[in-house]
Symmetry: C2
Subunit: 294 residues, 2 copies
Amino acid sequence: MRNFSETNITDAVLERIAGAGDPRIKQVSEALVRHLHAFVREIRPTQKEWEYGIDFLTRTGHMCDDKRQEFILLSDTLGVSMLVDAINHPVPDGATETTVLGPFFVQAAPEKQNGDDISGPMQGDPMIVTGSVSTADGKPLAGAVVDVWHSDNDGYYDVQQLDEIGDLAMRARFHTDANGRFHFWSIKPAAYPIPHDGPVGEMLEAQGRHPWRPAHVHFMISAAGFEQLVTHVFVAGDKYLDSDVVFGVKDSLIHDFVHCPPGRAPDGRTVESAYYHLNYDFGLKRAASNARAA
Amino acid sequence: MRNFSETNITDAVLERIAGAGDPRIKQVSEALVRHLHAFVREIRPTQKEWEYGIDFLTRTGHMCDDKRQEFILLSDTLGVSMLVDAINHPVPDGATETTVLGPFFVQAAPEKQNGDDISGPMQGDPMIVTGSVSTADGKPLAGAVVDVWHSDNDGYYDVQQLDEIGDLAMRARFHTDANGRFHFWSIKPAAYPIPHDGPVGEMLEAQGRHPWRPAHVHFMISAAGFEQLVTHVFVAGDKYLDSDVVFGVKDSLIHDFVHCPPGRAPDGRTVESAYYHLNYDFGLKRAASNARAA
Ligand SMILES: [Cu+2]
Ligand SMILES: [Fe+3]
Ligand SMILES: [Fe+3]
C-alpha cells in the first residue's frame, strides 16, 4: 500500500496493526489511531504546531524523574485521571468514594503507632485525625493498612523540601485496631498549587486556569479481600473546592476540620493550644474475587 | 463544580478551559480533551493500563536527546506525520509530492559544489544523482537550495555512527545552476529499520509490525517565493515499498536508480567501476504570498 492521503491514511494504519497478536493491544492501538487521527483532522495543525506538540511532549518527558511525574500532572489536569478512576471504581452504597492518587505518594512510608505525631520537624496548627475502617455494610475491619500523607501549612509536601527537612514527614502508615479504628496527630494541611514551572504549568496558563488544589489529607486503605481505596478528605470551606485543578472533589469527601479549644482532646490527651479535629469513617468495597465471602 | 463521574467529567474539563485567551489554544485544547476522553471511554483502561501509558510516554521522553527524537518516531509510525503532511501540502499538477522529514535531518549540512562526492569515508556502490528544480509549470529555478541526506549501504546515517566516522557524510547542501540543475556523487543507500530499541520498537513488535523503511534519498528544496519541498526519492524495486513503517511512499516518488556500466558518466567523468544513476526532476509549488508573481 502506498499513496496515502488525508482520506485513506487512517485505514492504512489500521490495516497495518490488524495483525497484532494480543487482542487487547490490537483494540487499544486501533482506538488510539482512530481518535488521534480524528483529533488531527479536526484541528488541522500546521507543521509548526505539530513541531510544538512534539516539543511539548519531549519537554514533559524530560521533566519526569524520581521526584516529579509531569505526565501524571498532565493526565490529572486534563481530567483523564479522574475519568480512569470513575471507570474503575463504581462505588456501592456505604463505600467511600475514590479520587486521584496524585504525584506525592511514596511507596515506603514510615510505620507509626496509633496516637503518634507524624508532623516531624514541621510547624503548623495541630490537627488530630481519628477514623474508622469498615465494610460497606458497616462491619469494622481490624488490621487494615492506612497510608496517610498531606501537605504542610504552606502547601508543600515533605518530598518537595527533603533537602531542608532531611526526612519524610506528614506521611505514615497505620494499622486499624480491634475496633477498626486509627488516630494520629499532625498539622493542618493547606491548599496548594500543583508544580507549575513545567509544560503543564505552561498549558494551564495558556488555558486561563489556576494551578490550585483545595486543602486535603490523602488516604490509601487496604484490607485483604477488599478493593484498595485511594481517596482524599477535603477541608470544608476551602475556596478551591469548586475549581480543583485536577477535578478531584466529591461532596462526600468534604468534611469539617473542627477547630477545638485547648483542653482534653478526643484521644484523652490534654493539649495546651487550640487544634483541629478531623473524624472520618471509611467504607471499603469488597473485591470481586471476595464475592463468596460477602 | 464537583462530583465528577464518567458521564459529566468531559463537560467539566471543557467548561474549565472555556476561558483560554487565545482562540486557537481554546480550539486545540477542547478537541484534545474530547478525543482523549472518547479514547479512554472506548478502551476503559484498568489502573494498571493507565500506569503503563504514563510509563510509556515517560520512557519515550527520556529516549529523546539531540541525536534521537522518539516522539517523532511515534508520530511517524502511527501515521500522524504523514496525515499532518497531507493536510498541509495539497500538491498542484507539476509540483513534486511531499513526504515525512524523518528523524535524521541536520540543520547545518556542509555546503558542496555541483559534481562533488559527498560520501566521505563511506564505502559502497557509487551513485551519481542528477536533477533539476523548476516551477510547477516547468520554468527552471536557478539558485534553489537543495539539501540532500541518505543512509549508507548498511542502512545507517552519518549521525548514527559519528563516533566511528568522525564527521557528517552522505549529507550536503547544493545550489542549482543557471539552468536549475544540480548533481553530485555518493553511494547508493539501503533500506533500514528505524531505531527500534526504544518504546516505539516495543510498540511495533506488540502490533506485529516490522520497523523497515525502503531505501531512499531525502531532499529538502527551497527557493524564494516557493513552498519548501520536503520529500524523498525511493529506489524502485525495494521490497519494503508497500510496507514502509512510516507510511511515506508515493508512486510519483519511486524512481529507477539505473545500474550503469563503467565508462563515461552523465557528468562527463570517466568512471572505472559500475555505478548507479538517479535523475529526478523536482517541481516547486508557489507560496501563497507569492500568488501575485504567478
Ligand atoms: Cu476521537
Ligand atoms: Fe495532595
Ligand atoms: Fe531516511
